[in-house]
């Protein structure tokens, strides 16, 4: 740079000095997150208090209680104090990890969340990996073969994919693969035959570690259908985005320069074009995180997959409002963190915004 400071090379591993701009970038993003986080906490806090009905009943789960019990609970729950004091208490609780306790299980919400989160994470990771591994090549091929039947079929499939009501798609797959063909199971994460300690919470890893014969295969068979269902929309969106980004990039001057250097088409497309096309696509992938979590709610419900999506839906129906409140907070916090990571990754890939 003009002031003599070093910059990043194309590979992350070539990073020399120059960590400072990246750290500044991260802290900048974090600073923006704080007001958002506070806003989210305010919403989570207000949620119970906005519900119709008596907050004491709602928060404790006890429907019928004597007046003394009511006053006692009110004091216990801190509901007799001014609203702003309650809010600060709530914030204080958040910071120390107290997200309330489930009315149904009586366990801290945070504990239940940590127990169930790996299941959702495993499913979501598998889904996004499938979506990226299939979606990006599909988009590249469709762009390169623009206008051919291959392009049109790929995009046609993609269109169906993101128009799909995934709760129905899951049911259809169950009817066909589980019911009619009998190939895959319907619900849960692994066959009841297997029992081994939870090390990572990821069934795929734990089953491998356990060394029990057939456990891994079982875990995979339970994971396939939910992954396919959850990956459908992100896959379609990523394929379309990649195609449109590639089309734009392929018309750019620097692609013509790359060709004029006598580089092979693979190199022109796979290195020169793709690198630039991936920039908007990475943003899309980042946005898909929220979509994934929304989709997880439906997918987990259909496949009885014991993750946080199903947990939230069940809690809404069971009126376990502590869980809903705490869950909202935790999920929102998680999304914000993931978005931050995506932003940082984006900074690595796109040199222009680093400077």
């Amino acid at each position: 740079m003009a002031d003599g400071s070093k910059t990043f090379g194309p590979s992350v591993f070539q990073r020399k000095k120059g960590l400072a701009p990246m750290l500044r970038f991260i802290f900048g993003r974090l600073a923006v997150l704080i007001p958002t986080f506070l806003g989210v906490s305010l919403i989570a806090f207000s949620f119970i208090r906005l519900l119709p009905g008596d907050p004491v009943m709602l928060m404790s789960g006890e429907r019928v209680m004597a007046p003394e019990r009511h006053t006692e609970l009110m004091h216990q729950l801190g509901l007799d104090r001014p609203m702003y004091v309650q809010y600060f208490d709530y914030l204080g609780g958040l910071v120390t990890g107290d997200f309330g306790s489930s009315i149904v299980t009586k366990r801290p919400v945070l504990d239940d969340f940590m127990n169930l989160f790996p299941a959702t994470l495993e499913l979501s990771l598998c889904a996004i990996i499938v979506a990226v591994l299939l979606g990006i090549p599909a988009g590249v091929i469709a762009a390169v073969k623009r206008g051919t039947w291959l392009d049109q079929s790929l995009m046609g499939v993609a269109l169906v994919g993101y128009s799909m009501p995934i709760f129905w798609w899951g049911l259809l797959l169950i009817i066909f693969f589980s019911g009619y063909l009998g190939w895959t199971p319907v619900s849960g994460r692994i066959s009841m035959m297997y029992f081994f300690p939870q090390v990572t919470g990821f069934m795929l890893i734990d089953s491998l570690i356990s060394g029990q014969a057939g456990a891994f295969k079982s875990a995979v068979s339970y994971l396939i259908l939910p992954t396919v269902v959850l990956a459908t929309i992100p896959l379609a969106v990523i394929a379309r985005q990649t195609r449109s980004a590639m089309l734009e990039v392929l018309g750019e001057d620097y692609v013509r320069t790359a060709r004029s250097k006598g580089l092979s088409p693979f190199r022109v497309i796979g290195v020169h074009a793709l690198r630039n096309a991936l920039i908007p696509v990475i943003t899309t992938i980042g946005l898909q995180v929220g979509v994934l979590l929304a989709g997880a709610i439906l997918t987990e419900t259909i496949f009885s997959w014991p993750g946080i999506g199903k947990w939230m839906v069940d809690s809404v129906f069971k009126r376990d409002y502590q869980v809903v409140q705490g869950g909202l907070m935790l999920i929102a916090a998680m999304i914000m963190i993931i978005n931050l990571i995506v932003d940082v990754l984006y900074g690595f890939i796109n040199p222009r915004i680093r400077h």
Binding site: G9, Y254, G262, L263, H272
Partner: protein, 284 residues
């Protein structure tokens, strides 16, 4: 044997409104060490003919010619992989928008070294050394440091120097420069043109300069081809063209230059000639 020879080149594009002939039967020869300027208005097909020779046109273009020879090799008949061995190595091209012509995601060092690796097979150290040598050659200060910069960190003039360096990296026999200075500041234009001419003389390359600027033609060319709407109108050595242009169109072009203006209004070509008149007056 001439270095580069085209005979009766026709380039047709498929468009939504039917086929469109961008280049209609153009012929030319360039010898080693010679500077040829192709001049014409926008839409005259001057860039398209050169892009066709390099194989850089999109799939919607149909290229036919009686002859399209480079160093005796028939470019049209080559397989794509054989053609790629020549393009970028023995024939190189630089373009109009230098900053946009460089890949924003890679350092300029990466972009020049990849040519060295793929065409010359140099190892990492040799590549680095040669890249620095090339940057020096084109007048980029602090070459070693510059190699790690990205195109958006450099000015238009510097990016064009990088493009020239990339083009020269494998010592090409023919360099095609498509409007190399049009997008640059006037002061930088002169520097880049001087650089091109100096390098051309030092390396004994054939140089084809495409431009719409008669001033550039005057300063650089040995011979000139005037094109209009895909056809060649006149071909002559530069002095003859300027002193005694044979076709009406060339005369009209020259008199449309601000320097040549007399009277109150700047004359336009349309006032002089219709398309048919221009084509009829073509001196082949």
């Amino acid at each position: 044997m001439s270095l580069f020879e085209i005979e009766n080149l026709v380039v047709e594009f498929q468009t939504a409104a039917g086929p469109f002939r961008a280049v209609d039967g153009v012929s030319m020869k360039v010898n080693a060490g010679e500077v040829l300027a192709i001049v014409g208005e926008s839409g005259s097909g001057k860039s398209v003919s050169m892009l066709a020779a390099m194989g850089l046109l999109p799939w919607t273009a149909k290229v036919t010619a009686d002859k399209l020879l480079f160093n005796g090799i028939d470019l049209l008949g080559l397989s794509p992989s054989d053609r790629r061995k020549i393009v970028g190595k023995d024939i190189a091209m630089i373009f109009q928008e230098p900053v946009a012509s460089l890949n924003p995601c890679f350092t300029v060092g990466f972009q020049i070294e990849e040519v060295l690796r793929i065409h010359l097979g140099l190892d990492k150290k040799a590549r680095r050394a040669r890249a620095i040598e090339l940057f020096d050659l084109v007048g980029i200060p602090n070459p070693a440091e510059r190699l790690g910069h990205f195109p958006h960190q450099m000015s238009g003039g510097q990016c064009q120097r990088v493009m020239i360096a990339i083009a020269l990296s494998c010592n090409p026999k023919l360099l095609i420069a498509d409007e190399p200075t049009t997008a640059l500041d006037v002061t930088i234009q002169k520097q880049i043109l001087d650089l091109l001419m100096r390098l051309q003389a030092e390396h004994g390359m054939g140089l084809i300069i495409i431009t719409h600027n008669m001033g550039v033609v005057a300063e650089t060319a040995d011979r000139v081809i005037v094109q209009y709407k895909g056809r060649k109108i006149e071909e002559a050595d530069v002095l003859s063209l300027f002193e005694s242009p044979k076709s009406e169109y060339t005369r009209a072009l020259l008199s449309a230059l601000p320097d040549n203006a007399t009277g109150d209004r700047l004359p336009t070509i349309a006032e002089f000639l219709s398309d048919d008149q221009i084509f009829a007056g073509a001196v082949r």
